[in-house]
């Protein structure tokens, strides 16, 4: 196959990425480790681990449990804090040619606004992911993406801070009754794109201790087990908001999995849990996807986005 036959470029807001395969926030640390396995500039973008204002120790261990075709995690956003991130991690990614989408997480509307102001002018940032859907915060009431009004408040505040300097990608939770209504709220509030889906809240009980296995009791479920949920959510939101770019994620382990999300409406694909299984997964999936698109007669990646919605035939 001649790889040049498929134009893999994709656009999110006003930013063009060389291809649609991204890492997923929280599954790539801040890029250094993955650079051992493939050049970071060979994928569309590195999405960094959601960073908060202050350094954060995260949750106690155990933080993880393997589940059928997936895993449960409750890391609790362990990270260096925005100052160290901007001083060390982001410049490193910039030097290594990575297109970087910085993911931020806050405990209040004001924290999100302040974080986005700090990221706005940092060199080497392509877009801003606003993680309003991390399930591992102290208080489930803080999952902004589970409440239309809270979700809108955060995105409005970020939009006021960032203006049009960076595309704003709102990361949504599938743990809602109607994800379309949340998507409509955040788009109305100024989100340029949507990232979906974050993990689903789950629990594993350890049969030796006969207590919840995770120290946090609950954790976020990810991996191929949740892929049909992602396909459904992306399909519904793309149907309602066909012009809004979606960065799709949820159990993508192969190029075929990525194509499924793309046909549902994803314009970018984040590879998350798969990197734990196979640290070369993002670059492998890119090659597999290109081949599958070519075999189906696509010459441009963008033509496949939302193709499952087409009329007739």
């Amino acid at each position: 196959m001649n790889r040049a036959e498929v134009d893999m470029r994709t656009q999110i807001g006003n930013v063009v990425f060389k291809n649609p395969i991204f890492t997923a926030s929280g599954c790539a640390a801040n890029g250094k480790e993955l650079s051992t396995f493939f050049p970071l500039d060979s994928i569309g973008a590195v999405v960094t681990k959601s960073v908060m204002t202050h350094p954060r120790a995260g949750r106690p261990t155990p933080r993880m449990a393997e589940t059928p075709s997936g895993m449960l995690n409750a890391i609790g956003l362990q990270g260096p804090g925005i100052e160290t991130f901007l001083k060390e991690d982001l410049p490193w990614l910039h030097q290594h040619g990575a297109s970087t989408i910085v993911s931020i997480a806050g405990e209040s509307v004001e924290e999100f606004a302040a974080l986005s102001r700090k990221v706005r002018n940092a060199p080497g940032v392509c877009a801003l992911e606003v993680n309003i859907s991390c399930p591992n915060v102290e208080n489930r009431g803080l999952v902004f993406a589970c409440d239309p009004r809270s979700a809108r408040d955060v995105i409005e505040a970020v939009k006021r801070s960032v203006g049009s300097t960076l595309p704003i990608i709102a990361k949504l939770s599938p743990d809602v009754t109607d994800i379309v209504s949340i998507a409509e709220e955040v788009v109305a509030a100024g989100a340029d794109a949507l990232a979906m889906i974050n993990t689903l809240l789950g629990m594993v009980i350890n049969l030796d201790t006969m207590r919840p296995h995770l120290a946090n009791k609950t954790g976020g479920l990810s991996g191929p087990a949740i892929r049909p949920v992602a396909v459904r959510a992306i399909y519904q939101v793309h149907r309602a908001l066909p012009k809004v770019p979606i960065v799709g994620m949820g159990g993508v382990l192969t190029g075929a999995d990525a194509l499924e999300l793309i046909l549902a409406g994803a314009r970018g694909i984040s590879v998350g849990t798969a990197t734990f299984h196979d640290p070369s997964a993002p670059i492998r999936i890119l090659g597999e996807l290109e081949k599958l698109l070519h075999e189906r007669g696509f010459t441009r990646f963008s033509d496949a986005v939302g193709y499952a919605h087409r009329e007739g035939e």
Partner: protein, 284 residues
């Protein structure tokens, strides 16, 4: 945050042999590119099942020994205890089957420049990485004593060829089926009168007990920890432990990248499973 060693690679490795050793499986893998760079204490992370596996997380194994050159190119040997479905699958691999291996990973045991009197302590198959360490120490003209403990004799990993690497080997089993009856910590004088350095690998409680003994004797102890990992390569942040740094600050460090070998006194053993108050980034 550190990256990985530039020597780390991901490779499809053929199983050269799989031999049963007591309760364990001794797998030899053809792993050119990994074997030449591995140091005692390093580990490998192996994926489970085929492309359609339902078990996504890698299993990590300390490297028992390596051969940089041989009939199969470089080989890496590991000792597998079939604890659960994933490690059982790996333990059942037959010669000529392939495993996806990432390695070498983690830090290595630190070796003093001058000859020392070293005590190496292994719990169960935790003895596996200690034989290559013993070999290296002996090349530096060090005196190497080894103590291995387990619940039963079939869980003592002490191969004949490994025994040649040590000056003296002591064994304890809790049921008395091999060596003396009792725990590994019963095997040596707790004053550590003739010991300059302790190296240990095994369950957390054993490492904690050894750290306490070594600390009260004023002897450093390098401990290789067993903390549950999901990726082995520093991405997932699940294998963290509270570690006190030389600046006195406790940080939650990844045992896969910043470990698995830590100075025993730096590990906050009693606080494992918590975020100790005052930890860098702890809730305020």
């Amino acid at each position: 945050m550190n990256g990985l060693s530039s020597a780390t690679v991901q490779a499809e490795c053929e199983v050269v042999s799989n031999r049963r050793v007591g309760a364990y499986h001794h797998l030899t893998l053809s792993a050119p590119g990994i074997a030449e760079h591995a140091k005692p204490g390093n580990f490998v992370a192996i994926s489970v099942g085929d492309a359609r596996t339902s078990m996504l997380l890698r299993r990590s194994f300390a490297i028992y020994q390596t051969m940089a050159r041989g009939p199969f190119g470089g080989t890496v040997e590991i000792i597998v205890a079939a604890h659960g479905a994933g490690s059982s699958w790996i333990a059942e691999r037959a010669p000529h089957e392939r495993l996806n291996v990432v390695g070498p990973l983690g830090n290595a045991f630190k070796i003093p420049k001058d000859p020392v009197r070293a005590l190496l302590i292994g719990g169960g198959y935790g003895s596996a990485p200690l034989f290559a360490l013993a070999e290296l120490l002996r090349q530096k003209n060090s005196r190497v004593d080894m103590a291995i403990g387990a619940s039963t004799s079939d869980r003592i990993f002490a191969p004949v060829e490994g025994k040649r690497s040590v000056h003296a080997l002591h064994i304890a089993t809790e049921d008395g089926s091999m060596g003396s009856k009792g725990r590994v910590t019963d095997l040596f004088d707790h004053k550590l009168a003739a010991i300059d350095i302790v190296y240990a690998c095994g369950p957390m409680r054993m490492l904690q007990a050894i750290t306490e003994i070594a600390a009260s004797a004023g002897v450093p102890a390098q401990c290789a920890v067993e903390e549950s990992m999901a990726c082995g390569v520093g991405l997932c942040m699940t294998c963290v432990l509270p570690i006190r740094g030389s600046d006195g600050v406790i940080r939650m460090l990844r045992s896969c990248v910043e470990g698995p070998i830590f100075d025993g006194t730096s590990v906050q053993w009693n606080d494992v499973g918590t975020i100790p108050p005052g930890t860098y980034g702890a809730p305020r």
